[in-house]
């Protein structure tokens, strides 16, 4: 089956230019990579394929001769996945080699139908397998990317903010699952110890839905904080969520809940024996505020 290797290596330049032409008509991603880069990738891949066919044969893709091809293809697919190519683009990269290769094979073996068929068949299988390798590499790179983003999201989404001496706020964004509850709980409790805070406000404005599981996770966090001697206030309960909580029969009676973060903060200030007062200067600067001052409070 070294005929295939011969055909490719003898007509390498022609094959490469035809390949790139076919590829460009199918998918043109000049925005993502330059022509020169593509040309170089095609050239080195062709060399590796010739090498593989020569040493291990086109049927035995697991053989040592194909190691170079596999590595090169995986690297190309991985870099394309990161650059933002679609799966079709990546698979087409290999599959578009078929047409120019078959044209060449027909030119050389047109007179011998049996040989022609065999060669076309084996090269089709070869290119299909190579395309599968690219897809696999593409997917695994994407998965890695998603995993890393999930991890980053987990770390990003649980900040504990100190609002005042002894008052912490924990704005939760996104759905609370078990893994996140663990992170939220740990970071809240650590912050309670580190800042010696008596009050912690858990703001759930950014939590899209509250079901029984989320409520249970919230209650766990609140109980743990209570065990340490800190009191939790839930704020940011939207009307829709208040309705859901009641309909689901979730018991939040032992927990203080407020509609807004500001309400919760005011309560925490009041409980720690503090009050917010308007200064005389502000009142003097805006005479109207004296009129409406009482109402605002």
């Amino acid at each position: 089956m070294n005929d295939l290797a011969e055909i490719i290596s003898q007509n390498e330049d022609k094959l490469r230019s035809e390949w790139i032409r076919t590829m460009s008509s199918a998918v043109e991603r000049a925005d993502l990579m330059s022509k020169a880069e593509l040309d170089e990738q095609c050239g080195s891949l062709l060399k590796e394929i010739v090498d593989g066919v020569k040493t291990s044969g086109p049927e035995n893709l697991g053989g040592a001769g194909w190691n170079g091809t596999r590595e090169l293809l995986s690297a190309i697919s991985a870099s394309r996945a990161r650059q933002g190519f679609s799966p079709t683009d990546v698979a087409t990269f290999v599959l578009s080699l078929k047409q120019p290769l078959f044209v060449l094979i027909r030119e050389k073996m047109g007179k011998n139908p049996d040989l022609l068929f065999d060669t076309v068949w084996s090269s089709t299988r070869l290119l299909d397998s190579l395309a599968l390798i690219t897809t696999e590499a593409y997917t695994s790179t994407r998965e890695e990317l998603i995993m890393r983003q999930q991890q980053e999201l987990l770390e990003l989404s649980t900040p504990v903010v100190k609002l005042w001496d002894g008052i912490l706020a924990l704005p939760i964004i996104g759905t609370l699952d078990s893994a996140r509850t663990q992170v939220v709980m740990e970071s809240l409790l650590q912050a309670v110890v580190a800042t010696n805070s008596r009050y912690a406000i858990i703001d759930i404005t950014g939590v899209p839905t509250v079901d029984t599981l989320v409520a249970q996770h919230l209650l766990k966090t609140i109980t743990a904080a209570r065990l340490m001697g800190a009191e939790c206030i839930i704020s940011g309960v939207r009307p829709q969520i208040a309705q859901t909580i009641v309909h689901l029969g979730i018991n939040l009676e032992d927990v203080i809940t407020k509609a807004k973060l500001s309400d919760a903060f005011a309560l925490a200030l009041q409980r720690s024996g503090r009050a917010v007062v308007k200064t005389a200067a502000a009142a003097a600067a805006n005479p109207l505020s004296q009129l409406f001052g009482k109402r605002e409070e």
Binding site: M185, E186, L189, Q190, V192, V193, N196, S197, R198, K220, T223, A224, A225, R226, L227, M228, G229, A230, E231, I256, R271
Partner: protein
């Protein structure tokens, strides 16, 4: 025999757990606390567990028991300085220690108990509302 000391501070009992609690020690502590309360007529018990790093359901129940027994004898119990890991473990074990009052530090715990002694029930309402 190894024993956890129970200190007297005016009308309060001060207990600092600084060794790994094992079951026998916990039972001994229960005996000591109840005996001291009735002997000295204490009105408050402060248990500092800030050095306690490992907890199991038995120790958790023991804390709840001491609080319950003290209440029967007329003394308020405050558990102070629980470590985050301990709090998480107790919650995961399903023990919320309802009825046991908690504070962040010995100082805050004292404030809670003395506040009760001097200002009556006002402080209690404030923290339990």
């Amino acid at each position: 025999m190894e024993r956890i000391p129970v200190l007297r501070m005016g009308s309060l009992l001060l207990i600092t757990i600084q060794v790994d609690m094992h079951d026998k020690l916990a039972l001994q502590l229960q005996d000591d606390v109840t005996e001291r309360i009735s002997e000295w007529g204490s009105t408050g018990v402060l248990i500092d567990i800030s050095s306690l790093e490992i907890v199991d359901s038995f120790i958790g129940r023991m804390l709840a028991n001491i609080a319950g027994m003290s209440r029967v004898l007329g003394a308020e119990t405050v558990v102070v300085g629980m470590q985050p890991a301990v709090a998480i473990t107790l919650v995961e074990l399903g023990m919320s220690l309802t009825g046991v009052r908690t504070a962040l530090s010995v100082e805050a715990g004292m404030e809670l108990l003395y506040g009760n002694a001097f200002t009556g029930s006002e402080d209690e309402q404030r923290t339990e509302a």
